[in-house]
Symmetry: C3
Subunit: 347 residues, 3 copies
Amino acid sequence: MSTSVTVGQLAEYLGAELAGDPAGELFRAASLEAASEGEVSFLARRKYLPYLAATRATAVIVGRDLGKLEEIPRSTAVLWVDDAHAALAETLTLLYPEGHRKGEIAATAVLGPDVQLGDGVSIGHHAVVGSGAKLGDRVCVGANSVIGERCELGTDTEIRDLVCLYPDTVVGARCIIHSGAQIGVDGFGYVFEKDRHRKIPQVGRCVIEDEVEIGANTCIDRGSVGETRIGAGTKIDNLVHIAHNVSIGRGCIIVAQVGIAGSTTVGDGVAMAGQVGIIGHLNVGDGARVAAQSGVSHDIPAGETWFGYPARERSQVMRASAALLKLPDLIRRVGRIEKRLNTEDQA
Amino acid sequence: MSTSVTVGQLAEYLGAELAGDPAGELFRAASLEAASEGEVSFLARRKYLPYLAATRATAVIVGRDLGKLEEIPRSTAVLWVDDAHAALAETLTLLYPEGHRKGEIAATAVLGPDVQLGDGVSIGHHAVVGSGAKLGDRVCVGANSVIGERCELGTDTEIRDLVCLYPDTVVGARCIIHSGAQIGVDGFGYVFEKDRHRKIPQVGRCVIEDEVEIGANTCIDRGSVGETRIGAGTKIDNLVHIAHNVSIGRGCIIVAQVGIAGSTTVGDGVAMAGQVGIIGHLNVGDGARVAAQSGVSHDIPAGETWFGYPARERSQVMRASAALLKLPDLIRRVGRIEKRLNTEDQA
Amino acid sequence: MSTSVTVGQLAEYLGAELAGDPAGELFRAASLEAASEGEVSFLARRKYLPYLAATRATAVIVGRDLGKLEEIPRSTAVLWVDDAHAALAETLTLLYPEGHRKGEIAATAVLGPDVQLGDGVSIGHHAVVGSGAKLGDRVCVGANSVIGERCELGTDTEIRDLVCLYPDTVVGARCIIHSGAQIGVDGFGYVFEKDRHRKIPQVGRCVIEDEVEIGANTCIDRGSVGETRIGAGTKIDNLVHIAHNVSIGRGCIIVAQVGIAGSTTVGDGVAMAGQVGIIGHLNVGDGARVAAQSGVSHDIPAGETWFGYPARERSQVMRASAALLKLPDLIRRVGRIEKRLNTEDQA
C-alpha cells in the first residue's frame, strides 16, 4: 500500500534544498539505522546524529537547524528543510496513501432500522449499527464495532475495529477513533442512600467535534445530564479516561493514561503529558501545560505550566525543589552552630 | 426513550416543596445552562448558582441546604428537596425508563451446547455464549460480547457490548458491566526458572457479587488458585486494574484508573479516588478512604484517610507538608544566625 | 477441564519429600482456607501460616525455606520442595491441561483472500482475519478478534477474544495476547502547523518476539517509521501503554498500568512495577528495576533500582527521605538557638 517518487520530485514537493542525486527512487520510509536502498529517512534531533554516518538510505530529510553535517554518506541525498517533522508528515502522506476506505458494506454487518448512510460508507465484518444512526459520506466503521442507536458520524470519520459508541453519541467530521475506545459510556454517578450506592441514571450524551483523534482503549463518558464535549482538533492518546460532563477545548493534546474527573473544563490548546490526573469541577485555562504524572487539584490559569504531586505552577515547584536540595547542608550548618554555642557555654 | 410528567406530579413523587406552576410538562432533564422549555434541571452546588438566573428550564430541583435563592427566573418552578442528588436520581429514573431489555436472542448470536437461559434473556448480535453458561432471568448480553464457558450470570444483570467474561466467571444479580471490560483474565504470575519467566497457570476464578457496576475497559483477573472477589454493591469506574486473588468488600467506590495488586484485601465501604495504586498482599480496613493518585505500600487501618506518595495517614502528611512549607524561611533564619555569630567573632 | 493424580505421583513428579499418605487423590488446586478433600494447596509465605492449621486440603506443597511447621493437620500430606512457586506451576500444568486449542475454524469466522493457515489452527466465532495474514501451526484466535491484513503469527501463539492486531503486526511463537489488547495501533504523532495538529502518518510496524504474554486491554503502538519491538520472553500485564518506536528487551516484567513514551529503549531483564511512567527517548539499562508509580525522566544505568517522583537511584532517594524526616526536629532546634541568642541579647 505504498507508491513511489524520485528524490528530485520529493525535494520539489517539500520545497527542500537538495544535495545529491535527484534520480534515486523512493518507495518507503525507514529509520536511519534500518533504511536501505529505495528508502527515505529523516533526522530531526542531534541525538540521533551517530546513525547518520552509517545509513544506507537513498535520501535523508534533515532540519536546517541542525547546521552543517559532516557525517552524511556520499551515496545518500540530503533534503534540507525548515521543519523536519512537517516534511516527514508530508512525505509519508505522499508515499503511503490511505487504504482503508472501500465503500463496501460487509455482508455480515448488521444495520438496524432507519439507519441513514451517506455515499461511499464502509462497514466492516460483524459491525452492528443501531437503529436511527446516521453515517455521513465516506464514513468507515471497522470490523466488530458497535455503533449505538441514534449515533451521528460526520463525513470522512473513521471508526476502527472493536470500537463501541454508546447510543446518541455524536462524532464530527474527519475524526479517527481507534480500536477498543468506548465513547459515551455511563458516567460514574451514585447517590448514597441508607446502606447502598444508588445509580444516578446517566442520560446526557457525548459530543466529539471535528478532526478529533481518540486512541486505543480510551474511555469517554456521556454527560450525566447535559454533555461531555471534546473540542475540534483535539488529539487524545491511548488509555485515557474522561469522565462525565467534562468539556475539553479545541486543539488540545492529551497523552496516554491521563484521567480527567467529572465536570472539569479544559480550555483550548492545552497540553497534558502522560498519566496526569485532574480532579473534578476544575478549570484548566487556555494554553496551559501539565507535565507527566502531575496530580492537579486546583484551577490552572491560562498559559501556565504546572507539575508535581500535588501540582503547582512551575516556578513554585522549582523554588521548593531548590530549598529541598539545601536541606542536608542546612542540617550540617545547624549542627555546627549548636556545637559552637555549646562550646561557648563551656568556655 | 423518555416519557413525560407534570411539575406537580414530579413534586409529589419526590415529596418536594413546590414554588411555581404545577401544570408545566417535563419531558427531559438538562443542565441549567442548556435547559429549555419542557426540561427539568437541578442545582446542588453553590458554584453553579450563576447559571440559575439565566436558565430557561421549566423546573429546577434545588437542595434546601442552599438556602433562599433570589436568582430564580419567574417562569421556572422550583422543587425544594432535602437531597438534590437523590431527587435527581429519582427524577431520571422516572423520565428515562430503561430501554435495553427486549427479551430477544439475535439471530447472529452463537450459543454453545448446554447453555441455560432464564426467562426474557436478551442476547445481542454476534455475541458468543460458551458451552455450559447459565444466564438468569432477564439477563442482557450486548453485541459482540463473549461469555466464556460455564460462566454464571444472575437475574437482571446487564452485560454491555464488547465485554469478555473468561470461562468460569460468576456474576451476581442486577450487575452492570460496561463495554470493553475484561473479567476473569489470567493473573500476572510467573516463576523465574534459569533464564526465563515460566507462566504459573491461573486456574482460579473471578466472582462478582450482586449489584456491582464495572466501568468500561476495566480488567479484573481470575484467582491464580482460589478466587478474586468483588463484594456486593461495589461500584468500579473505567480503566481500573484488579489483580488475581484480590478481595474487595461490599459497597466500595473505586474511581477510574485505580490499580490493586495481587492478594490485597479491601474491606467494606472503602473509597479510592482516581489513579490510586495499592501494592500486593496488603489489608485496607473497612471505611478507609484513599485520595487520588496515592501510592499505598502499607496496610491501612479501618476508617483512616490516607494520601500521598508514599501514602500515609492524613494528619502525618499534613504535618510533613507544614514542615516543608517552613523550609525556605528556615534557610533564611539559619543564615541570619550564622551572620550574627560571625559578626560577634569579628567584634 | 482438570485431570487427577495421587499424592505419591505428584511428590515423585515434583521431586518433593513427602510426609503423609501417598494414596490420596488430587483433582484440583485451591487456597489453604478454601481447600477441601481432593485438593492440593501451597504455602510460600510465612504470612499465610495461620491458614495452614485449619486447612482441609488433601496435600500442601511447602517451601523448605519455611523450616519446621507444627500447624499441619494430621490428615494433610506435606510435599516439601525447594521452590514452592515453581512446584505450584508444575502442579497446575499437570492438573489443568490446556483446553483452548481445538483445531476448528468457526463457521462464522471471516477469512480474507490469501490467508495462510498452518496445521491445527483454531479460529473463534466472528473473528476476522485480513487478507494476506499468515497463521502458524496450532495458532488459536479467539472469538470476535480482528487480525489485520498481512499480520504474521508464529506457531502455538494464542490470541484471546476481542483482540485487535492492526495490519502488518508480527507476533512470534508461543505468545499469549489477552482479550481487549490492541497491538500495532497508530502512534501519537502530530506536527503543529499554523493553527492545527497535523497527523504524521504512522507507517511502521509492531513486532512481538517469541514467548511474550500481553495482558488484557494493553495497547502497543506501531512504529511511526521503523518498529516498535517487544523482546522474547517479556511479560506485560493489563492496561499497559507502550508508545511508538519503543524497544523493549528480552525477559522483562512490566506490571499493570505502566506507560512508556515514544522511542524509549528498555534493556533485557528489566522489571517495572505497576503504574510506572517513563518519558520518551530514554535508555533503561539491562536489569534495571523501577518501583511502583515512579516517574522516570532520566536514563537509568544497568542494574540500578530507581523510584520516586521524579525517580532517582534508590540510595539518593533514601538520603533525601532521611533528611526530610529530620526537618521537624531541625525547625525546633533553630527555634531554640534563636531564643537563646535573643536571651543573650537581653542579658
